[in-house]
C-alpha cells in the first residue's frame, strides 16, 4: 500500500479486510474485498455506499462478528483478528456497536435497566446496586429520564428513544471505539437530528473514535472527519469530509453526490452520469474496476486492470484509472 497515513497516531487500523460468505455450490459472495482504512484516535470515519456494497459486512468484521475471512483489524496496537475466547471477550469492552433498527436491537423481553446493565453484568463489573447506579447515570446522559425508563420495556419507547438506549448500552463500558451501522437511518428526520446531535456530543465528551456507516451522504458528512466511499465491496475513495464532498475524484462518488436531491427548489438540475444498467452482483463482480460497467468514463484499461489505491493529494486516496481531475480554483 502506498497510501499509509502516519502510523503513529493510528488508533484503529483495518488492513486488507476481506469478507466472503459461502453460497451453496461452492460460490461465494464477495461482500468486502481488500478494504484498508486507518482511523486516528478521536476521529470519525464515515463509510458510505449503496445498499449491498458491504458496509455492514465491513462493520461486523471490525467487530469480529464474525471474524473476517482475511485481513487484519488492529485496535490500539492490539490485533483483534488474532484474539480468541476469553481474550477476545475481554477486548470487546473496548469496542462497541450500534445497529440500524432501534427496536430490533433491544431484547423485547428485557426491561431497560437489564438491557443497559447487560455489558456490565457480562464483564462482571460491580454489584447489582452499583450497576443500577451506572445505568441511571448513563440513561440521563443520553437524555432519558432514568426513573421513568428503567423498569419499562423497549416497545414502550419511540424509535429515537430506543436508539438512545442502544447508545447508552454501547457506551456504558466506556469503549474507545464505537461502530454505528446505519444508526439513524430508521429514524424520522426530526428525531434523526436529535440522535446525531447526541452522538456528536458524546463523542466529544468521551473522546470516542467512531466508524460511522450510512447510505445517506448528508448524514455521513455531518458527523465525519473523513469519509470512505465503497462500491461492490471495495474502497473507491477516501478523503477528509470537506474535500470529498467538494471535490470528489472518483466518478462513482461524483454520481452519488449528484443524485442526492436537495431540499431547495432553486437548486440547479443535475444530470446523473450513469450508464444505465444493473448493479453487478457481488457473487460475480466484474473484472477490473468494479464500477466500470456503469461508469461513463470506463475504458479498456478499466476492464483489464483493477485500479490500485493511490493518494492523489495528501490524505485523498482513490482507486480509479481516470479520476476526475480537480478543477483549478
Amino acid at each position: 500500500m502506498n497510501a499509509e497515513p502516519g502510523k503513529i497516531d493510528t488508533f484503529l487500523a483495518i488492513d486488507n479486510l476481506t469478507v466472503e460468505y459461502p453460497l451453496q455450490g461452492g460460490r461465494k459472495v464477495h461482500a468486502v474485498t481488500d478494504f484498508t482504512a486507518h482511523v486516528k484516535r478521536g476521529e470519525t470515519l464515515g463509510l458510505v455506499g449503496e445498499s449491498g456494497c458491504g458496509k455492514s459486512s465491513a462493520a461486523r468484521a471490525v467487530m469480529q462478528l464474525p471474524r473476517p475471512t482475511r485481513g487484519k483489524v488492529t485496535l490500539d496496537g492490539q490485533d483483534l483478528t488474532g484474539l480468541k475466547g476469553r481474550a477476545l471477550q475481554q477486548a470487546r469492552r473496548r469496542f462497541q456497536m450500534i445497529f440500524q433498527d432501534p427496536i430490533a436491537s433491544l431484547n423485547p423481553r428485557m426491561n431497560i435497566r437489564d438491557i443497559v446493565a447487560a455489558p456490565l453484568e457480562i464483564a462482571g463489573i460491580g454489584t447489582e446496586e452499583e450497576r443500577t447506579q451506572r445505568v441511571a447515570e448513563m440513561l440521563e446522559k443520553v437524555g432519558l429520564n432514568a426513573d421513568q425508563a428503567m423498569e419499562r420495556r423497549p416497545h414502550e419507547f419511540s424509535g429515537g428513544q430506543c436508539q438512545r438506549i442502544s447508545i447508552a448500552r454501547a457506551l456504558i463500558l466506556e469503549p474507545d471505539l464505537l461502530v454505528c451501522d446505519e444508526a439513524v437511518s430508521a429514524l424520522d428526520v426530526s428525531v434523526q437530528a436529535q440522535v446525531l446531535n447526541l452522538l456528536e456530543e458524546l463523542k466529544k465528551e468521551l473522546g470516542l473514535t467512531m466508524l460511522f456507516i450510512s447510505h445517506d451522504l448528508a448524514v455521513v458528512k455531518h458527523v465525519s472527519d473523513r469519509v470512505a466511499v465503497m462500491y461492490l465491496g471495495r474502497l473507491c475513495e477516501l478523503a477528509d469530509a470537506e474535500t470529498i464532498y467538494r471535490q470528489p475524484v472518483h466518478p462513482y462518488t461524483r454520481t452519488l453526490l449528484d443524485a442526492v436531491p436537495e431540499p431547495d427548489p432553486d437548486a440547479p438540475e443535475r444530470e446523473i452520469n450513469l450508464v444505465p444498467g444493473e448493479l453487478p452482483s457481488p457473487v460475480n463482480p466484474p473484472s477490473g474496476c468494479p464500477f466500470r460497467t456503469r461508469c461513463p468514463r470506463a475504458s479498456e484499461q478499466c476492464k483489464a486492470v483493477m485500479p490500485e489505491l493511490r493518494e492523489i493529494t495528501r490524505g485523498h486516496i482513490v482507486a480509479c484509472h481516470h479520476p476526475l481531475v480537480p478543477e483549478a480554483g
Binding site: Q24, G25, S281, V283, N284
Partner: protein, 317 residues
C-alpha cells in the same frame, strides 16, 4: 441438482435411522414370536429350537444388517406367522391405506381451503367465528368416536353408505369409493381443522401484504384476490403441514381401518405388533417411513411449484 443430491442423501440417512430404531424397539418387545409360532401346546425346548431356527438368538446389529442387505435385493423377509412374503403383504395393503389417506387429505383440503379463506377474509367476523367453532368441535372429537357416530348415522341409520369394507378399484370407481367415504371423512374431520387454521393465520398476514393492497388498487374482485393472489403465497405452511400430517394420518388409519374393517397396512401392523411378527413390523414401519419421506419430498416439489422463488433458484445470482 446439488440440493437434490443433498436431500436424497439426507433421506437415506433418515431411512437408515428409522429402520434401525424400529429394529431395536421391535427387538426389545417382550414376548416373542417363537411362542406365537410354537403355540400353546409346545414345550420350552421346542420354543428355543424355533428361536434358533429363526436366528433370533443372534445380536441385533448383525440381524439388522442382514435385513438391510435383504431389502436391497428385494427380500423383505417372510412373516413368521403367516409365512407370507412381507413385501407382498405390505404392497398388497399399502394401496388401500394410501387411498384412504389420499381421500382423507383431499376431503380435508376441500373443507380447509374455502373455510380458511372465508375465515381469513374478515378475521373475527361472523363467518370466522362460526367456522372456528365448527373447527374446534371437530378436533375435539376423537376420530374413533367420529367414526362410530358416522357409522351410526350414515350406515345404520340412513343406510346411504356401507358401514364397513373395502372394494378394490377393479370393482369400479364408485364401488371402490363408496365404502371409503366414511372412513376418509372420519380422518378428514380431525385433520381439516389444523389445515384450516394454518391457512387462516398465514392468509390473514398475506392479506395485509402490500401486493394484496396493490391488487385491490388494481380493481380486482375479492374472490380473485383470494384465489389468485392470496391463496398460493398463503399455503406454504399448510403444504408443509400436509407432509407432516402424513405421519399422523398413518397413525390414524390404524384405528380407522380397525373400525371400518379396511384391509390396510394399519391393521397389518397392529396385528403384527400383537403377534411379535418382527419382520412384518419392520416392513410396515419401513414402508411408513418411505411414505412419509416421499410425501415430504413431494412437499418440496410442491413448494417449487407454488413458489417461483424456489423454482427458479439458481437461474439468477
Amino acid at each position: 441438482m446439488r440440493y437434490l443430491l443433498y436431500r436424497l442423501r439426507r433421506l437415506a440417512i433418515v431411512l437408515a435411522a428409522v429402520t434401525f430404531v424400529t429394529f431395536l424397539l421391535v427387538n426389545v418387545l417382550p414376548g416373542d414370536v417363537a411362542y406365537e409360532m410354537a403355540g400353546m401346546d409346545s414345550s420350552e425346548e421346542e420354543v428355543q429350537e424355533i428361536r434358533e431356527e429363526l436366528g433370533l438368538d443372534r445380536p441385533v446389529v448383525i440381524r439388522y444388517f442382514e435385513w438391510v442387505g435383504g431389502v436391497f435385493v428385494g427380500d423383505w423377509g417372510t412373516s413368521f406367522i403367516s409365512s407370507e412374503d412381507v413385501w407382498h403383504a405390505v404392497t398388497d395393503r399399502f394401496p388401500v391405506s394410501f387411498e384412504l389417506m389420499l381421500l382423507a387429505q383431499i376431503l380435508a383440503l376441500a373443507m380447509a381451503i374455502p373455510a380458511g379463506m372465508a375465515s381469513a377474509f374478515r378475521p373475527n367476523g361472523r363467518a370466522d367465528r362460526i367456522i372456528g367453532a365448527l373447527a374446534f368441535a371437530s378436533v375435539s372429537m376423537p376420530s374413533f368416536m367420529t367414526a362410530i357416530l358416522l357409522i351410526f348415522v350414515f350406515a345404520l341409520g340412513l343406510g346411504w353408505l356401507p358401514a364397513t369394507g373395502y372394494e378394490p378399484l377393479s370393482s369400479g370407481l364408485w364401488a371402490n369409493l363408496k365404502p371409503m367415504i366414511l372412513p376418509a371423512l372420519s380422518l378428514a374431520l380431525v385433520e381439516w381443522t389444523i389445515l384450516m387454521r394454518t391457512l387462516r393465520v398465514e392468509m390473514i398476514s398475506v392479506l395485509q401484504e402490500n401486493y394484496i393492497a396493490l391488487a385491490r388498487a388494481k380493481g380486482m374482485s375479492n374472490l380473485r384476490i383470494l384465489w389468485v393472489h392470496a391463496l398460493r403465497p398463503s399455503s406454504f405452511s399448510m403444504i408443509t403441514l400436509l407432509g407432516l400430517q402424513v405421519a399422523r394420518l398413518l397413525g390414524g388409519t390404524i384405528i380407522i381401518e380397525q373400525i371400518f374393517g379396511i384391509p390396510g397396512v394399519g391393521r397389518l401392523l397392529i396385528h403384527a405388533v400383537y403377534t411379535r411378527d418382527f419382520v412384518v413390523i419392520q416392513g410396515c414401519v419401513t414402508f411408513f417411513a418411505l411414505a412419509f419421506v416421499t410425501a415430504n419430498f413431494l412437499v418440496d416439489i410442491a413448494y417449487a411449484w407454488l413458489d417461483p422463488r424456489v423454482r427458479t433458484r439458481g437461474s439468477h445470482g
